[in-house]
């Protein structure tokens, strides 16, 4: 039975292999095809390009009167081009061919693996017939592979720490961020130590204690002393980390009230898919926002009945004065976003219906950072870090840290939210709004 099965298997695998070989040529052919089609594409684009230049030439040579006609013709040309483009977009039969070739290629690989497997089992059978079969050969081989894996793994860890970790590491540029970095480094040291030690143990044990003919395992069901030791040691290490982390966390999130008030206040409103920044203006107070007042002219929903909002400034970017505490008020217009500035070690979600706060002090200006990195295009960036829809991946705002003077200079150039149009709208409305609000309160009563 099994012999038959093997035969059948061989015939099937032979057939698949033959099939693969048969298509080996078409693979080459397809490459030629793709080259050909590529060159054809080049040709078509080359044809298209002169046409375009032609039309441009027409435009430039044409008199002012005929310019309109020329442009019209160019639009018709574009119109004619559009269906052509669609035709090109229709799936090329080559795509199916390529796909089939890849599938066949995979089948060929499978066949090769099957053949190797058969060869190995034949080898084993002959060893068995010669009486030289070592039943532990494969066991030893796997334990050796695990040991080799250990070496490669440890080297890989080292390599990635150097090339992806240290090389790309950018130190924090805020006061609290430096504390976070210290803690990060300590935690990394501890965890790396444990990772390396446990993996060395795991994969040397598997090598040292692989099964051998006349060995018996050591019957060792428990040892309370050791178990207590490795319960208590991690517990102590973790307690240290917890305390360290807890106090850092409290110092970041639990800012005394007077410091909260003396900081520069900035409000950031997230929406699909952009950030809006509001500086408080000369009075230092951010005006109220009422989402119900959102209109096309007042997309931010600022409540201009609150006089504090009249001087609020619309920031095109986020500019911050260096070494000055700043308190961000994070709000959302629609769904949850997350206000995240990696270099600052700052993140808090923007949640509709509530305001979240994050207070910090930037310590390095953008220019200093550029010098530090040797990259003169480098910018701090604030990005959205909570899934928020199709353009979530590109919802950013540049963050610039500058000296106090430059900051003031920049702020002076920014627009106010309370534009003239809005002023007109509101001066007309205020009377009505007041009536409305009276009515609303009356009905609530």
């Amino acid at each position: 039975m099994s012999f038959k099965l093997n035969n059948r298997f061989k015939s099937i695998s032979g057939f698949v292999l033959a099939l693969g070989l048969l298509f080996a040529n078409p693979i080459l052919a397809s490459q030629q095809d793709t080259v050909a089609s590529d060159s054809a594409k080049v040709a078509t684009t080359a044809v298209a390009a002169p046409a375009a230049t032609d039309s441009v030439a027409k435009d430039t040579t044409a008199a002012a009167g005929t310019a309109a006609v020329a442009s019209a013709s160019s639009t018709t040309e574009a119109g004619a081009a559009a269906p052509a483009v669609e035709e090109v977009k229709q799936i090329d039969p080559q795509v199916y061919k390529n796909f089939t070739y890849y599938v066949l290629l995979f089948l060929v690989i499978c066949t090769v693996i099957a053949v190797i497997g058969k060869v190995l089992s034949i080898y084993e059978l002959t060893r068995k017939m010669n009486g030289r079969y070592n039943p532990f050969a494969n066991n030893t081989f796997q334990s050796a592979l695990l040991f080799i894996f250990l070496v490669v793994f440890l080297y890989g860890v080292y390599w990635s720490y150097v090339h992806w970790g240290a090389a790309y590491w950018r130190s924090a540029v805020t006061e609290h961020g430096e504390r976070i970095d210290t803690m990060f480094i300590i935690t990394t040291a501890i965890t790396t130590f444990v990772l390396v030690i446990t993996h060395i143990l795991l994969m040397t044990f598997t090598f040292l204690y692989r099964m051998r003919a006349k060995r018996q395992a050591y019957y060792y069901p428990h040892n309370n002393a050791i178990e207590k030791l490795w319960t208590i040691v991690p517990a102590v290490v973790l307690t240290v980390l917890v305390l360290f982390g807890f106090f850092t966390w409290r110092s970041i999130t639990n800012v005394p009230e007077d410091l909260q008030k003396s900081a520069l206040q900035i409000e950031v409103l997230g929406e699909q898919f952009q950030w809006n920044v509001r500086y408080p203006g000369t009075d230092g107070v951010i005006g109220k926002r009422n989402y119900k007042m959102t209109t096309p002219t007042n997309p931010y929903g600022i409540d201009f009945n609150d006089k504090n909002s009249w001087d609020d400034i619309q920031g095109s970017e986020i500019w911050l004065p260096v070494n000055k505490p700043v308190r961000f008020h994070i709000v959302s217009k629609d769904i949850i976003h997350s206000f995240f500035i990696p270099d600052f070690r700052v993140q808090i979600n923007a949640v509709p219906g509530m305001t979240n706060y994050f207070q910090f002090t930037p310590t390095v200006t953008t220019e200093e950072m550029r010098d530090r990195l040797g990259d003169y295009n480098y910018d701090f960036v604030m990005l959205c870090n909570k899934i928020c829809g199709s353009a979530h991946w590109n919802m950013q705002k540049k963050v610039v840290v500058v000296t106090e003077e430059k900051y003031k200079e920049w702020l002076a150039k920014q627009n106010k939210y309370f534009t003239e149009d809005l002023q007109k709208e509101f001066s007309g409305k205020t009377a009505n709004v007041k009536k409305d609000s009276v009515q609303v309160t009356a009905s609530l009563n």
Binding site: N139, G177, T231, D334, S338
Partner: protein, 623 residues
């Protein structure tokens, strides 16, 4: 219920006949037999795993080559990959459904459903589950949930795309994202059915373990697998209903205009009427399940590997009691750590500090388990079956992924790592790869029990190495992206200067993912081929101690042809000094192993101790 099963099967075997041959439907489809239901769970789980894996390959392709066109994608995906490029919204659908399917359908139902069903009656010595009908119901609810989840790819607006955590308002407001229309509805319906399936299953597992153990099988003689399934079922029973309440409130918000989670919204210029709700409420409810869920996923895997490591090291599991107590510790603590997913969501920061303390405490029992595994391997006589390789892989992933939990559980460090690739790396290693490896370890080890045939070991090794190396190549680099501040669920890294350097790393990761995915073909071939053509299995292929290997290879209704064996000893008497063989099955009485009995084996039974002392004196054995 149990008594009827027993008497029925006894009758059946007394008559030695098959006079009531089961119909095909009763045997293979609407089966009440725990072995068949386990196979149904496993095969459905494997199909869902392949499906979710393909989704992950699709979004990996997008991440590696964001500017390249793959016209073949348009052939398969149509309008979602127009011009051969995956659309951003579809990308989010892919990550959402990949996450949901992997966490719930593969690693919860596929893992726990398969092995709880297979091993609970077998290892505790029961004829079947406490309620075979509920067991069947559990599978079929799961099956319907799977079908609905996959069906969401066939609705016009696309599948759910708010992330597997489906935070409202994104998931509640269809205008915010296309996937929150019909796709989200299907997701919610599917999850309600899924939770019902899990609850029915869990109640069944707990009642079976508590009531139907064979004679002599007291709680401290249960294999660690059973302990793990038992505690997992308890965690599931206590936490899954909370997900249902979260989901039901979300359904109300979506369909009935309530405002449990919604307030102050202006979506696409439209002022919504909802007031007074809180998106944070949903996060609390979700993570009250969501965090225990990761232990629901990983504890069965730990239970399976405990068994496999002990068997293949030919050595008792080190610190059996400590292993059980750490499982209990994890079970209890898993309910009070959910807030660590919400440090930066605007939850009260002081509460964040408290959750940070509980979170780091849960690392202690986890560490104990890892060390106990190492101690079990120490001075063993290790046999590297494919199952054992996967078990070693699990220990490696559990350590390397668990350690990064120390960063994320620390609220201060989490500020910068929250929702970055660091998180992706962390949970894919510690609960993704580790649990999948636990599941595969279980499949390779118990395949002879399930199908009566052996799998091909060579293909097993090939599968292991491709998957093990692939998983590390895929997830290890992600740590560094996360440290650099690259957020997860980004469609492309092209718009940020600082992310440009990661595109080449993404290509490495994607190639590793593709090769590892193709490596799964070795498993699928092996699995399905061996069902029909594998070598016939012996009764106890791994020289294992637990009761399932005392049953005949051919499956019979009621598991044991005669009486259920009585249990006399714990399941880890491997390489006991003084005994001829290196294993003593649980049903071997101490009277047959006089030469290897130890004083504490008798648990203070003076009569037995006296007999042993007499025997020792006669045979010149020092006790």
């Amino acid at each position: 219920m149990s008594s009827t099963v027993i008497s029925h099967s006894a009758e059946h075997h007394d008559s030695h006949g098959h006079h009531h041959e089961e119909s095909f439907i009763r045997k293979y489809i609407f089966s009440g037999d725990h072995k068949m239901i386990a196979k149904q769970f496993l095969i459905t789980g494997i199909i869902m795993a392949v499906f979710a894996m393909l989704l992950s390959v699709l979004f990996r392709i997008q991440l590696a080559w964001p500017d390249k066109e793959f016209p073949i994608l348009e052939v398969f995906l149509g309008k979602w990959a127009e011009g051969g490029r995956i659309k951003p919204e579809f990308f989010l659908s892919l990550v959402t459904i990949h996450g949901t399917v992997m966490v719930f359908f593969v690693l919860t139902a596929g893992l726990s459903g398969t092995f709880s069903n297979l091993l609970i009656p077998y290892q505790i010595g029961a004829r079947d589950m406490a309620s075979p009908f509920m067991n069947m119901l559990s599978y079929w609810l799961f099956f319907v949930a799977s079908v609905i989840m996959v069906a969401s790819f066939f609705v016009e607006s696309g599948p759910a795309s708010a992330g597997w955590t489906i935070y409202p308002p994104l998931s509640a407001v269809p205008t915010a994202i296309a996937g929150s229309a019909t796709g989200m509805t299907l997701w919610l319906v599917s999850m309600v059915l899924f939770v019902a399936s899990q609850l029915i299953g869990g109640i069944n597992y707990v009642s079976t373990i508590l009531n139907m153990r064979t004679k002599g099988m007291d709680l401290w003689k249960m294999p660690l697998t059973i302990w793990a399934f038992f505690l997992t079922a308890i965690v599931g029973m206590l936490s899954f209903p909370v997900l249902v309440s979260a989901v039901v409130l979300l359904i109300f918000d979506r369909a009935a205009g309530t405002s449990f989670y919604l307030s102050d919204l202006v979506v696409q210029g439209q002022i919504l009427p909802n007031e007074g709700g809180s998106p944070i409420l949903f996060q609390h409810l979700f993570w009250f399940l969501g965090h225990p869920e990761v232990y629901i996923v990983v504890m069965p895997a730990l239970g399976l590997t405990s068994e496999v490591i002990a068997t293949n090291s030919r050595k008792p599991i080190f610190g059996y009691h400590a292993m059980v107590y750490s499982l209990i510790g994890i079970t209890v603590l898993s309910f009070i750590v959910w807030g660590h997913h919400m440090f930066v969501t605007g939850m009260n920061p002081f509460l964040g500090g408290v959750f940070m303390i509980t979170t780091l405490i849960i690392a202690v029992p986890s560490a104990v388990k890892a060390f106990n595994y190492l101690a079990t391997l120490w001075k063993g006589n290790i046999r590297f079956t494919p199952a054992m390789m996967f078990a070693i892989g699990l220990v490696s992933f559990f350590i390397s992924g668990g350690l990064t939990g120390l960063f994320l559980g620390n609220a201060a460090l989490d500020i910068n790592l929250h929702d970055t690739y660091f998180v992706v790396a962390h949970f894919h290693l510690v609960m993704g790869s580790a649990s999948i490896f636990g599941m595969l370890c279980g499949v390779y080890h118990w395949y002879p029990k399930m199908f009566g045939r052996m799998m091909n070991t060579k293909l097993g090794y090939l599968h292991f190495w491709l998957t093990f190396i692939g998983a590390y190549l895929v997830f290890f680099p992600m740590h560094f992206m996360g440290i650099d501040g690259v957020p997860r669920r980004y469609y492309a890294f092209t718009e940020f200067a600082f992310m440009a350097k990661w595109v080449s790393v993404n290509q490495l990761v994607t190639w590793a993912a593709i090769i590892a995915a193709l490596g799964q073909v070795a498993f699928l071939w092996n699995f399905f081929y061996s069902i029909f053509f594998g070598k016939k299995a012996p009764q106890n292929p791994w020289q294992s101690n637990t009761l399932e290997w005392t049953t005949p290879v051919e499956h019979i209704h009621g598991n044991w042809p005669g009486e259920i064996p009585t249990v006399h000893r714990w399941p880890y008497d491997y390489s006991k000094p003084g005994h001829g063989e290196d294993f003593i099955p649980q049903d071997v009485p101490f009277s047959q192993t006089m030469s290897s009995n130890l004083p504490h084996d008798f648990e203070g039974d003076e009569e037995a101790e006296r007999i042993q002392a007499e025997w020792n004196a006669q045979n010149g054995r020092k006790d």
